[in-house]
Amino acid sequence: MSQMPEIRNFIVENFLYGQDDGFDDNVSLLEKGIIDSTGVLELVSFVEEKYGISVEDEELIPENFDSVVNLSAYITKKTSNGK
């Protein structure tokens, strides 16, 4: 899961204003209050631009986006499926 540091870095820079509070890579970003309805859209844009994938409507679900680990697994799956 090579994307994990990059994803974490994006979250820290954009939602925690550059200060990593040591949150768990498995923690729910929504329950922890790190992202909200506008934040998740920024996360989608980041993933689409950075990894050249297109996030389909039905893929915008917590199973794919709600933790660093989930998002990394989702990107791995998308990029290995020939986008």
Partner: protein
């Protein structure tokens, strides 16, 4: 129909009338009225056994969850007043609220319970938390559910008693506790469900926080009519919400401009089957007319209500959907069993077209601000009969010839971001406490999604090399998430008026969205 005099009757009477009907759906769990009533009884018995007395304040520091709903009704059944506190509230403000209200007990969730180790609240005798407990002074929510006494308690309150305190942003920067009696809340819920024509087969989706009165009332009102609430934490995953709305055949969608804007931005929104949807409500800030038109085009069968309200009286007005084409910019008229009028600076009522302050008269008007007699005196003033008090809203309005209301401006500089009131002063106080900030001013700037976005303009001490990000990070340690500035602009100095005060009008007019993070 049973008579509702106390807020907890909404649940209790529905548990008698619609015992096995689904009351609440959350995270795949479905609870009936009977399930919830039994759970709330267990909480109430626990509270009484713990020494909670009639009128004691109980904090519910939880996000949208079954436990939050059960805690609210458990507190009410025990005769206590509940306080829903936004789950992103930071230690300092939580401590302020708990101490200001002298809360005796707090409900929380495992993920946020550690904050209680950082605060000092001498009145707070106990904490009830979900998940593993902090220490021996903390009680397990799950234990109360598994082994608690489920017998109903006799009522300890009458309808004049305090049911809830809702903390709201004040222009002074100090949060104010809006005191609501059972009578206030029952009256407001009755008026609103009347004009929305709510029925027991209504299925209402709520993704607004329960700490926001608009979110809280979705539960209260649905329980009042014996309907069903689909409770979600937020609109973060819109497609999941839309699937849920279709699957659960949702009939009522309470929105704020941010939710409506996000909804209308979704790809393929025109292909979504919302045939079950009966109404959409909007409050907190006006919907742009383009959004109103798009909603009507997409969902012609849906009744769209534009509304306006204040925590101090819950709701002020609604525009009957059939008037929307005639007056799309109006927020309507006073709701049933409520009178509204506009006064000039001398306190005299004014006629159509004249701008003045909106005044609200009704049994939904709050009892006052907790422990703030001066603030209370400013907005609750003598009404028509001796001893009566009416609410001065602080909002400037005018009416048309038929008496429909049009919002003009607020008298203070409160910002409405994502539908929630934000006090610029509260953010400025935090900014000034950061070493290196010389001057700070917070303004709201127009934003298509947020309504107003928060912008902080600051000048730094010479020698300070604070960055925009460091400034927002500091804010994030002290303020709720919805109060964080979206933009920060570091300026050599802030513009001043002739009197030497920071010129916020100039900043708001010229700042726009520069200084993006």
């Amino acid at each position: 129909m049973y008579r509702h005099t106390l807020v907890n009757h909404f649940l209790e009477h529905s548990a008698l009338q619609h015992t096995h009907k689904t009351a609440l759906v959350h995270s795949g769990q479905r609870l009936t009225y009977s399930d919830l009533d039994v759970m709330a009884n267990k909480i109430a018995n626990f509270l009484v056994k713990s020494g909670i007395e009639r009128g004691d304040r109980i904090a519910v520091f939880m996000d949208n969850s079954i436990e939050a709903v059960v805690s609210v009704f458990g507190a009410l059944k025990a005769g206590a007043a509940f306080m829903m506190i936004n789950h992103t509230t930071k230690a300092e403000k939580l401590e302020y609220i708990l101490n200001n209200s002298a809360a005796k007990l707090a409900f929380t969730q495992k993920i946020r319970s550690a904050i209680f180790k950082e605060i000092r609240c001498p009145n707070l005798g106990a904490i009830v938390s979900t998940g593993a407990c902090l220490d021996e002074s903390c009680h397990s929510f799950e234990n109360i559910m598994s082994s608690g006494d489920a017998r109903p308690l006799p009522a300890r309150c009458i309808d004049m008693d305090l049911a809830s305190i809702i903390y709201t942003s004040g222009s002074t920067g100090q949060p104010k506790g809006v005191m609501l009696s059972h009578h206030n809340m029952v009256s407001a819920a009755h008026s609103i469900t009347t004009y929305l024509e709510n029925r027991e087969d209504d299925i209402i989706i709520n993704m607004l926080p329960l700490s926001f009165d608009y979110g809280l009332y979705q539960i209260l009102m649905a329980f009042r009519i014996g309907g069903t609430v689909i409770l979600e934490k937020s609109f973060t995953y819109p497609y999941q919400i839309i699937d849920l709305m279709i699957k659960e055949k949702v009939t009522g969608l309470p929105g704020v401009p941010t939710i409506i804007a996000l909804l209308l931005h979704l790809k393929d929104i025109d292909k979504v089957d919302f045939s079950s949807l009966r109404y959409i409500t909007n409050t907190a800030a006006a919907l742009p007319v383009t959004h109103i038109n798009r909603l009507r085009e997409l969902f012609p069968h849906v009744r769209l209500y534009s509304m306006y309200g204040l925590t101090e009286c819950k709701r002020v007005s609604y525009l009957p959907p059939e008037e929307l084409d005639n007056r799309p910019n109006s927020v309507g008229r006073g709701m049933p069993n409520e009178e509204v009028y506009i006064v000039n600076e001398n306190g005299d009522k004014v006629g159509p077209g004249e701008i003045g302050e909106l005044v609200i008269r009704g049994s939904n008007v709050m009892m006052g601000y907790w422990d703030m007699p001066e603030e209370t005196g400013k907005c609750l003033r003598a009404g028509r009969y001796p001893g009566e008090r009416v609410l001065y809203s602080g909002d400037l309005f005018k009416t048309d010839n038929e008496g429909y209301l049009y919002f003009i401006a607020r008298k203070d500089d409160i910002i409405k971001c994502k539908g929630e009131k934000v006090s610029p002063r509260e953010i400025e106080n935090v900014l000034y406490s950061l070493h290196g900030i010389l001057e700070a001013a917070v303004v709201g700037i127009p934003d298509e999604i947020l309504g107003q976005a928060i912008k902080a303009c600051v000048a730094l001490d010479s020698g300070s090399n604070l960055t925009e990000k460091e400034i927002v990070h500091y804010c994030s340690q002290h303020l709720e998430n919805y109060m964080l500035p979206k933009y920060v602009q570091i300026m050599p100095e802030l513009p001043k008026t002739a009197n030497g005060k920071i010129d916020k009008k100039d900043l708001a007019a010229t700042a726009h969205s520069s200084g993006r993070l």
